[in-house]
């Protein structure tokens, strides 16, 4: 009997259109996002913009009143661009994480919306937009509504000082990394507010845990950041990246044994600050239901998750910039970039190509770290509150201090004989290659020990 609830798959051509459109989106969205950043961000650098006003608009940028307005408008567009980047990348990471988690858990993951479920994040966001924006009756309504904005602001403001490529940065602040540390603290304000204002005990637990965790782990992360800052002699993000080279043995992580330690301290601290497993205590599902976001629904809830996934990019990008050479293209030195740039007000086409390449290098390194973060999340259990504090104050903080002191001595040694950092770079690079080799050998061994059927991935 035909039921009115019967479900039929879309006709084949509809599926094909969906398939190819989502496949196109997979390629177009990242290219479009990064392309816009590459085209637009160099333009709003002050000197380039002033040259543009002088040579294209034929005004004197210093005396013409319109300069301020135009520049303000240009910055607003840049802000919107960054926010778009954060939201879309956060969305795509939510899909990516779920797919990776699917493979880790020997299942498929979301596969219904578009090819490989690529549009799942759009569907989720649209669904959450239509949900009721519920404020609990006993909640502090104003704080409850305001809390997500703090979290989103803390996340988005970070992107201002984060470099994407050689000239692709909104503002190369001379206190770049310090600024990033400062605005990241806004997130904890939002989380604490949401935990308190929800008037729910579970949310309160989550908020308190989060405050304790994020504030504690800012100490080791700040100490670990001191190492590359000391090595580069600047707080500017671009300055720190310029002090490194393109090849792995020229990265800070290998040029100094203490930086190798500091990288892991920073990485662990950032996992804790971003509330990722094994430090997901504030939103520990099995303990606190959903922690500080227990009472949220609808789009405010979506904002928390947006921040969580956009943070994936940010924490990885910070680690890549400080320790893993950032956007440095192997074999391209500062003078090569200057030569490519030329002297004209608008750079030649080749320069744009190399800019895009530097963005590609940066994005590739960051994606590797993002994948590692996701991998850790779906592998490790959660640690307990007291263990989390122990790890921070008993191990990471002293180790961070040690790394900083060692770096001070190391820099004196480097100033006497530059060869030491090349030796360290070579040795650590060889060790790294060996570790990767061992990892693949072990993985192959483990895979050969697994028995049973392979996951059926035909329905990907």
């Amino acid at each position: 009997m035909p039921s009115k609830f019967s479900f039929a798959f879309p006709r084949p051509n509809t599926r094909r259109i969906l398939f190819f459109s989502s496949l196109a989106a997979v390629f177009v969205i990242p290219v479009a996002l990064f392309g816009l950043l590459v085209v637009y961000l160099p333009f709003i650098q002050k000197d380039v913009f002033f040259t543009f006003v002088r040579e294209t608009l034929h005004r004197d940028p210093d005396s013409w009143a319109g300069t301020q307005w135009l520049y303000g408008a240009a910055l607003l567009v840049a802000g919107l661009l960054l926010f778009t980047f954060a939201s879309v990348s956060g969305g795509i990471f939510s899909w990516y994480e779920r797919r990776v988690a699917g493979r880790i858990q020997s299942r498929i993951g979301p596969n219904r919306v578009g090819a490989g479920g690529f549009f799942q994040w759009v569907a989720d966001a649209v669904k959450l937009l239509f949900k009721e924006d519920l404020v609990p009756a006993e909640a502090d309504s104003l704080l409850f509504r305001a809390a997500p904005y703090f979290v989103v602001a803390g996340m988005t403001l970070t992107l201002v000082a984060l470099p994407f490529g050689q000239s692709v940065i909104v503002a190369d602040l001379n206190v770049g990394i310090f600024y990033i540390l400062a605005v990241t603290s806004l997130i904890v304000v939002g989380i604490l507010l949401s935990g308190w204002s929800s008037n729910s005990k579970w949310a309160l637990f989550g908020g308190m845990r989060s405050a304790a965790q994020v504030i504690s782990y800012e100490v080791p992360s700040g100490l670990a950041i001191m190492t590359p800052v000391l090595m580069a002699g600047t707080l500017s993000m671009q300055g720190i990246i310029r002090a490194q080279g393109g090849w792995p043995w020229q990265w800070f992580i290998s040029r100094n044994p203490a930086a190798f330690v500091a990288f892991f301290i920073l990485f662990i601290s950032q996992l804790a600050e971003a509330n990722r497993t094994p430090f997901d205590l504030p939103e520990a599902e099995s303990e606190l239901v959903a922690g500080y976001m227990s009472e949220y629904s609808g789009f405010r809830f979506a904002l928390y998750f947006l921040v969580e996934w956009a943070n994936l990019w940010i924490i990885s990008a910070i680690a890549v910039s400080l320790f893993l050479g950032g956007w440095q293209v192997p074999g391209l030195e500062d003078q090569d970039w200057a030569a490519l740039r030329g002297a004209g007000s608008f750079p030649p086409v080749a320069w744009w190509f190399w800019q895009l390449l530097s963005v590609g290098v940066f994005a590739a390194k960051t994606m590797v770290l993002v994948t590692v973060v996701i991998w850790i999340r779906w592998t490790l259990p959660r640690i307990r509150v007291d263990q989390m504090m122990n790890l921070c104050w008993k191990y990471l903080v002293p180790a961070g201090f040690g790394a900083m002191l060692f770096t001070l001595l190391w820099q004196i040694a480097v100033s006497k004989a530059r060869i030491v950092q090349d030796i360290s770079g070579g040795v650590l690079f060889v060790l790294f290659v060996y570790a990767v080799f061992r990892f693949f050998v072990l993985t192959r061994k483990n895979i050969s020990r697994v028995v049973g059927d392979r996951v059926d991935l035909t329905n990907w």
């Binding site: 858990q105 020997s106 637990f205 094994p278 099995s286 303990e287 239901v289 779906w378 490790l380 259990p381």
Partner: protein, 379 residues
């Protein structure tokens, strides 16, 4: 009690009362714990049970002896075979029926498969409650294979109603023996994979080792049974010490907690005893399949079961420990009293005692390590 939210203890301290449940991701069913906390540290957690009470013992007095069999499935939905078997053995004792050898072997096989499935859920949720989500999926994947096998045997995946008074409902289908042997072969190596996946993970050991220790004396005093008792180092297994059914024919070891992660009787011991028990269950199931005798699967049982007046007790080793049925007959077609003594209920009793001074995260480890299943607690 639940009106009390903040209570002043002394000048500087207040304690907060949190309702941990009835709807909470890690209460494994509908349980409620009234948790008195001072920050992250609990003063105590009081179990508040009864949300899943379905009057199963009263129903046993209303429906006839064979009619009660499907209801026993609902006592513990993760390990329904044992509840079937315990009741069947009790009534068989009452009407003095000898179960055919083949039926006893089939009972052992189905029970051991069910034990593996139940322990898989237990250790999988244990890992999830500690925060590692992935192992649960691996555990449920294997449980699915067992569900398929049991479905092929008796047509049901959760509430089996397979054991009947006097035997089992169906003989095993053609080719089932090879399927089970194939599964056992695969599964025994998967236990090692499970160890690599989660058991010896450093964080996991730190979270479970030395947490919620139940000493040997406490375990005996509170009447803990099954893996919870053995986790505390007490070497007691009904299958070996008070044999029933086909179990005297099989060789198997009884794993006992040895303090693998530090202390004997901690959450890790209870967890790891279950992992080791799965391997022993494989061993028993394999022996039973090899020795499986031919013959009837059902004894001659009268259509109308009307036992003489008297009382009888049966004990089986369920996945959650010793499951005892106490059946009183008054000589009519209906039991005068049916009483089930279940492992989860006994385990709930010790939580209040153990929980003081633990952290909230440890309470979850404690509940998961005791393998409390809400319907078995309430019945």
């Amino acid at each position: 009690m639940s009106k009390l939210v903040l209570r002043r203890i002394d000048r500087n301290n207040e304690e907060m009362l949190v309702n941990f449940g009835p709807q909470h991701p890690s209460t494994h069913g509908v349980l409620n714990f009234l948790v008195e906390t001072d920050g992250e540290v609990m003063r105590r957690a009081i179990p508040d049970i009864g949300y899943l009470h379905r009057s199963l013992e009263k129903i046993g007095e209303i429906v006839g002896y064979p009619g009660y069999m499907p209801y026993t499935d609902r006592i513990d939905y993760l390990a329904a075979m044992f509840a079937n078997e315990g009741y069947a053995i009790a009534v068989e004792k009452l009407i003095k029926v000898e179960v055919p050898k083949r039926a006893q072997y089939l009972r052992a096989i189905s029970c051991e498969l069910n034990r593996i499935a139940s322990h898989l859920v237990s250790i999988g949720t244990m890992a999830t409650d500690i925060g590692a989500v992935t192992p649960l999926v691996y555990a449920l994947r294997e449980r699915e294979a067992i569900n398929d096998l049991i479905e092929a045997l008796c047509g049901a995946r959760l509430t089996y109603n397979y054991h009947r008074i006097g035997g089992v409902a169906f003989d095993m289908p053609e080719g089932w023996r090879d399927k089970v042997l194939h599964f056992l072969e695969r599964f025994e190596s998967l236990i090692q994979e499970w160890d690599r996946l989660i058991t010896w993970n450093e964080i996991y050991l730190k979270r479970l080792g030395g947490v919620a220790v139940i000493t040997r004396e406490q375990a005996i005093d509170y009447g803990l049974v099954g893996p919870n008792l053995r986790g505390s180092g007490v070497d007691w297994d009904v299958r070996r010490d008070v044999p029933y059914g086909a179990y005297p024919d099989f060789k198997f070891d009884v794993p006992v907690g040895r303090g693998w992660a530090g202390t004997v009787g901690d959450a890790f011991d209870r967890y790891y005893v279950r992992v080791l028990e799965m391997a022993q269950s494989c061993r028993i199931a394999r022996q039973a399949l090899e020795k499986l005798p031919d013959g009837e699967t059902m004894a001659k049982v009268p259509r109308r079961i009307k036992p003489e007046a008297g009382e009888v007790m049966s004990r089986v080793e369920s996945a959650r420990g010793e499951l005892a049925y106490y059946v009183v007959s008054d000589g009519t077609e209906r039991a005068y009293r049916v009483r089930a003594r279940t492992g989860s209920f006994l385990a709930m009793g010790i939580i209040e005692d153990i929980s003081s001074g633990l952290m909230i995260a440890d309470l979850i480890a404690l509940i998961a390590s005791l393998d409390v299943v809400a319907p078995e607690t309430d019945r």
